[in-house]
């Protein structure tokens, strides 16, 4: 039988991976809300964050804070370039076509990284040591604290931006109704660009803070991206607290599933619960039902 210490450990482990899923999920949601696109390249930003940091640390020999900043900047730039070159030129494209383009983009980014930096896995040093910290009978690493703190900060910043700045409010307006927003003078195209920039930055940050725990390589983005997508769906594609809970739920479910039921089926358990949630509440757990626009 599982002891309470074990349960605590499962929950803590789940929460820390869940926080990462949440960050990635919010990136999905931001782009989805402003464009209606499910950006399958989201996971690649996560990968870019980790790989670029490794690059700036080892090849350019920057100190960690500078390397992190540089990595986020470059990843954001990639997001912006991607939007400019591949998304913007398409007017009135079907969402499904756009999905394919993002899949193409994700293959392209992954391919370039593979060629430039090879297929090896790279480790990133922890931000502040590897000495485990005790929480009751469970242990976490200082890096987990970094993950929690940075996630909270990013989400808070997000909220400030979307609710208290002009461009943030404009972006929200676009997500409700792009045509009406255009009528009141909002530059919708610019907002789309912003959304790509923000979610690329968030994704890369997620990739950086998790890399010391999980290592990084050119192909880490795929699975993380899917889990993030999962988080966003449970959260009802909200770019706020809903997706955060979505991420934490997925993370904890996985961890509990592995610990209490079967480690082989843990992803199946997580996805099964996702299906149930979708069947019962297709709009996500945290969003009121909406009628479809005709």
């Amino acid at each position: 039988m599982a002891s309470s210490d074990q349960i605590l450990q499962y929950c803590l482990s789940g929460l820390s991976t869940g926080a990462i899923y949440a960050l990635i999920g919010i990136g999905f949601a931001i782009i989805y809300n402003s464009t209606g696109i499910i950006n399958f390249a989201q996971g690649e930003f996560v990968m870019l964050g980790g790989m670029l940091t490794v690059f700036f640390l080892s090849v350019a020999v920057l100190p960690l804070p500078a390397a992190v900043t540089a990595a986020v900047l470059v990843a954001t730039l990639v997001g912006v370039i991607f939007e400019r070159l591949a998304i913007r030129p398409l007017k009135d494209a079907q969402p499904i076509t756009l999905i394919i383009i993002t899949i193409g983009g994700s293959i392209l980014i992954r391919g370039i990284v593979m060629l430039v930096w090879g297929k090896d896995t790279h480790a990133l040093p922890a931000f502040s040591g590897n000495e485990p910290l005790f929480v009751g009978g469970a242990t976490i690493l200082p890096q987990h604290l970094w993950i929690f703190v940075i996630t909270v900060l990013i989400i808070a910043a997000n909220r400030l931006y979307f609710h208290h700045s002009i461009s943030g409010k404009a972006m929200r307006a676009c997500s409700y109704n792009a045509r009406a927003s255009r009528l009141v003078g909002i530059d919708v195209k610019r907002m789309v660009l912003f959304s790509f920039a923000i979610s690329a930055a968030m994704g890369s940050m997620a990739g950086i803070i998790i890399a010391p725990l999980t290592m990084t390589s050119y192909d880490v983005g795929v699975m993380l991206g899917l889990k993030g997508f999962c988080a966003a769906i449970i959260g009802g594609m909200s770019s706020g607290i809903g997706t955060v809970f979505g991420g934490l739920i997925v993370g904890v479910l996985e961890s509990l599933g592995a610990g209490l039921v079967s480690s082989g089926y843990k992803d199946a358990i997580a996805f099964f619960i996702l299906l149930i949630i979708l069947f019962l509440r297709p709009q996500g757990l945290f969003r009121k039902g909406e009628t479809e626009r005709v």
Partner: protein
């Protein structure tokens, strides 16, 4: 309708004479796989192109068909044809039952649900080691036979698989030109309008989902009996994405486009081999460029481009009627 039939016959003739021009080597082997992917792409296109319902888990049905055939024949010594039938029936039942809740979902939720389904099935292939052989796969699957005739060469399999693929195409062509097809197109354009006109939209979607699943399962059975070995990696998420790409590149809603998409994506790695290690980049780039510049897919894109080029050469008058 007559025109469609003519088109089909012509295509069937082309398919049946192709082996005469291919010297029986490697290319024929690739064309066998093109046939399998054609079936899969056509099946997905029915769902995506005509009913407008996305599926990111199509490989699950393909895999279920393959594993049903593989397990029943290799481990239980069942007749391959019976196994194929059971596989198709089981997948049909599964898609029909699951179709009801899943197809109530729309857009990204539907994408996620089908994706999740695909991943769950994939995990089961991996984890039920005693039944499926797990990640190291299942071998010892026999070829299909008719009496004492064994489908054990590429040429025989070519005709076998393309026979099935042609049937699938015929079915799809018929479906799209039937009352159901017109109703489907209506769903695609405006679901509400279709519903108002008295179309039982939901049931129709479920039916298409089922047909699509059954076709994929049969393709899976054919794969299992041709390759004689199956492992979970052939039915993972990336395969679902590959199928989606075939349909989009060929052209949403165009049956022959799917054939072209399947052929192109199966042959593409071959054509890209000159790029060596750069092939993955070229692949990604092609995907982006093709969808950007030929959003209607190759089937519409190539004639459009040809017409545009023709117009340019003639100097103006680009609006040639097609």
């Amino acid at each position: 309708m007559k025109r469609e039939l003519l088109k089909f016959l012509l295509f069937a003739i082309v398919v049946s004479v192709v082996p005469a021009f291919v010297s029986g080597g490697y290319l024929l082997n690739v064309l066998v796989f093109v046939g399998i992917f054609t079936m899969l792409a056509v099946a997905l296109n029915l769902l995506l192109g005509f009913a407008g319902q996305i599926s990111l888990g199509q490989a699950a049905f393909y895999g279920l068909g393959a594993y049903m055939s593989g397990v029943l024949t290799a481990s239980h010594g069942m007749n391959p044809w019976v196994a194929m039938l059971i596989g198709a029936g089981a997948v049909g039942l599964l898609t029909f039952v699951l179709g009801f809740p899943i197809l109530r979902l729309k857009g990204h939720s539907l994408a996620m649900a089908t994706l999740g389904l695909g991943i769950i099935v994939y995990i089961f292939f991996n984890e039920t080691v005693d039944v499926t052989g797990g990640p190291s796969g299942l071998s010892g699957i026999p070829n299909l036979t008719v009496g004492s005739f064994v489908f054990d060469s590429d040429l025989k399999n070519y005709y076998l698989i393309w026979g099935f693929a042609l049937l699938a195409i015929l079915l799809a062509v018929n479906l799209t030109n039937s009352r159901i097809g017109r109703a489907l197109k209506a769903i695609h354009q405006s679901e509400v309008a279709a519903r108002v006109l008295g179309v039982d939209v939901h049931l129709l979607k479920v039916e298409i989902f089922t047909i699509s699943g059954v076709l994929s399962a049969i393709a899976g059975s054919l794969y299992a009996h041709t390759v004689m070995f199956i492992s979970p990696t052939s039915f993972g998420f990336n395969v679902s994405i590959e199928l989606l790409t075939m349909v989009i590149i060929g052209g949403l809603g165009s049956i022959y486009g799917s054939v072209l998409g399947a052929a192109l994506l199966t042959l593409l790695p071959e054509l890209l081999r000159t790029f060596q290690d750069y092939d993955i980049i070229v692949y990604g780039l092609l995907l982006i460029l093709m969808t950007m510049f030929m959003p209607g897919g190759l089937v519409r894109g190539i004639p459009d481009a040809a017409v545009a080029l023709y117009g340019k050469l003639k100097g103006g008058g680009a609006d040639v009627e097609r």
